[in-house]
């Protein structure tokens, strides 16, 4: 697989990444260990809740809560920039006028 070339819209699989095999400096190893540590802590928390015989309720996932909150409340951090104004105008204002014109001229009288 030495001549593998990734596609423009696809990604290189982790197992074909040469950095994983050759350039493992101590810093990278330490980083991987820290990530594994975080993962292990989360796993432990989940397993403790899962196997608790006195638990009666669903296990709540704070990451999910945060994701839902972030997706439903983007307007808290919305700012009117050039791009957002352009998108807002393009999707919210222009269709009104275009549809009005198109529907009016599509009627039998063929005049606005």
């Amino acid at each position: 697989m030495a001549d593998y070339r990734e596609a423009p819209l696809a990604t290189r699989p982790k197992t074909l990444d040469p950095a994983e095999y050759f350039n493992l400096s101590l810093d990278q190893r330490r980083a991987e260990e820290e990530r594994a540590g975080l993962r292990a802590q989360l796993k432990r928390q989940y397993q403790m809740q899962l196997n608790n015989p006195h638990r009666k309720e669903l296990i709540e996932d704070p990451a999910l809560t945060r994701w839902v909150y972030a997706r439903t409340n983007p307007y808290n951090h919305f700012r009117a920039t050039k791009k957002t104004s352009l998108l807002g105008g393009l999707f919210g204002v222009v269709p009104l006028f275009v549809l009005y014109y198109v529907l009016k001229t599509d009627r039998l009288c063929l005049t606005p």
């Binding site: 820290e34 796993k43 709540e60 945060r66 994701w67 307007y75 791009k83």
Partner: protein, 201 residues
């Protein structure tokens, strides 16, 4: 490194202590989600303000706090660039779909190939295994493009040429028997029908 792990544990446990309720936390979670839709109203129950997404971090301390909140390393945490579209301090995770994750690892949620508490990509609902797949294609992309567009282009060209230059069996006007249906067409039976020659032998 051991000390840092302990700090991480302590922080996560402290932050998550609010979630380990003995009451009916599922109902309270529902309320929090419902009320979270109206941004200015929040119940006193549910996650504290520090555990929910906030504005884009300006100082390194805010960055560190946000990384802790999202259960990520400070070096890994990179918020989505602030362009006014309302992302806040949500982290920018790699745009990899769940197809690419190891199918043989023991995930907490095997169908989603995700562990509990792991930070969720902004477009997670797009990257589930029923939807967008970013895994590498088995054949090179340029080969696939060439094959597909070559075939479709060729077929379009041939159909266009077939429309322009039609080719079919030779045809002639229809020939009727009984002197061109002389009687059936209501002509005079006494009158001699005219001779119509259809062919030359």
């Amino acid at each position: 490194m051991r000390i840092s792990l302990f700090n991480v544990t302590a922080t996560i446990e402290h932050g998550c202590r609010g979630f380990q309720k003995l009451g009916s936390s599922s109902f309270q979670g529902e309320t929090a989600r419902l009320l979270g839709a109206f941004s200015q109203i929040r119940a006193a129950s549910g996650p504290s303000k520090g555990m929910l997404p906030g504005p884009y971090p300006q100082t390194p301390e805010e960055r560190a706090a946000a990384a802790k909140k999202y259960n990520m390393r400070v070096e890994d945490y990179e918020p989505i660039p602030d362009n006014g579209e309302g992302y806040g301090d949500y982290p920018q995770l790699p745009d990899r779909s769940q197809h690419e994750r190891d199918p043989w690892y023991s995930w907490d949620h095997p169908d989603l190939r995700r562990n509990w508490g792991e930070p969720i990509h902004w477009d997670f609902d797009m990257f589930i295994r029923n939807r967008v797949d970013t895994s590498p294609s088995p054949v090179a992309w340029h080969t696939m493009c060439k094959h597909l567009f070559g075939f479709v282009g060729f077929m379009l060209l041939m159909f266009y040429l077939g429309e322009k230059f039609p080719s079919y069996q030779p045809v002639a006007p229809k020939q009727y028997p009984y002197s061109n249906l002389h009687l059936e067409r209501g002509e005079d039976p006494e009158k001699q029908p005219e001779e119509v020659k259809h062919f030359n032998i």
